[in-house]
């Protein structure tokens, strides 16, 4: 599995850039009278709380599976430890450190 600098890679990267700058520029470049609709303002409050867990779950459960595995037990255990650290400390270094350390430890000594 890889991502080459072929037409798919280049078009996707440029497209992602256009989409992102459009989001950033939206209300800055729109005419002054344009207001954020109430429903959009309400929905935007919940985007981070919805998107981040939805990004996390498949990366933890379903990646790097062994032949007999349905979900990745080691990653789940490591992610739970990291989640506890993230919740308590709000520290990105500590979260990364604990999560990776638990995963490596389990891979090293675990029976799977």
């Amino acid at each position: 599995m890889s991502i080459a600098a072929d037409w798919y890679g280049v078009v996707t990267v440029v497209g992602a850039g256009l989409v992102t700058v459009a989001a950033r520029a939206s209300f800055i470049v729109l005419p002054a009278r344009t207001a954020v609709p109430a429903w959009l303002r309400r929905a935007l409050k919940f985007v981070a709380a919805a998107v981040l867990p939805a990004l996390i779950l498949p990366d933890v459960l379903f990646r790097d599976l062994g032949p007999q595995e349905i979900v990745n037990i080691y990653r789940i255990a490591a992610a739970l430890c990291a989640a506890w650290v993230a919740w308590r400390t709000r520290n990105i270094f500590a979260t990364l450190g604990v999560g990776m350390a638990v995963l490596w430890l389990l891979k090293l000594i675990g029976p799977l």
């Binding site: 303002r41 709380a49 498949p58 993230a86 891979k107």
Partner: protein
Amino acid sequence: MQTRRQAYRQGAKDAFPSVIGLIPFGLIVGTASTAAGMDPWLALAMSIIVYAGASQLAAIGLMVQSAPLAIVLATVLVVNLRFVMYSASLAPFFRQLSTGRKWLLSYALTDHLFALVNARFTPDGCHKHVDAYYIGGAVPTWLMWNAMVAIGIFAGTLVPKQWSLDFAIPLVFLALVFPALTTRTHWITAGAALVAAFFTAGLPMKLGLITAAFVAVSIGTWLDYRQELEKRIAR
């Protein structure tokens, strides 16, 4: 901040802690793109063109599985929707600037810059030289981010695959999620997103993330709307 020069300098000074804070995240995004087998120059181009870490990670995760272009772009848009909110709140500060400058400043918008400008200026109060202040913070932020991603990309080639460094991606998102869970409704939204993500993980074309995010945002928005109605009725 009487002169523009002072405003540039103040911006750079205020941005300093968050610029240092970018170091681990930038390194991770760089190493993760190499771990995903991404062409190093394409990865560097992405960092400069997209310039938004969380969405870069999300896009890399989809691209490595050859997800359709529309799905990758929709996912990037969803992850970056918060910028629409920032854009609305910063717009009054940038009214007098030329269109070209507005686009340039927009490109450089980050979570931290948004927070810095909001902490120091108010739209109704004096915001002379706010663009100079913004650029003073934006330049070191941009340089640090892309330098760290570049280092990560090339350091990533030295890391063996058995180290499972791609696991750093969900860990970074874990560190970002808790500050976003400010109310009970936000927690319910996050819970709904987990459940929805579980059941949509097998959807074709990697549609799972967008579907799960849409379901969870709808639930959160609906609960929030209902709470406000109840408050209004109680009054």
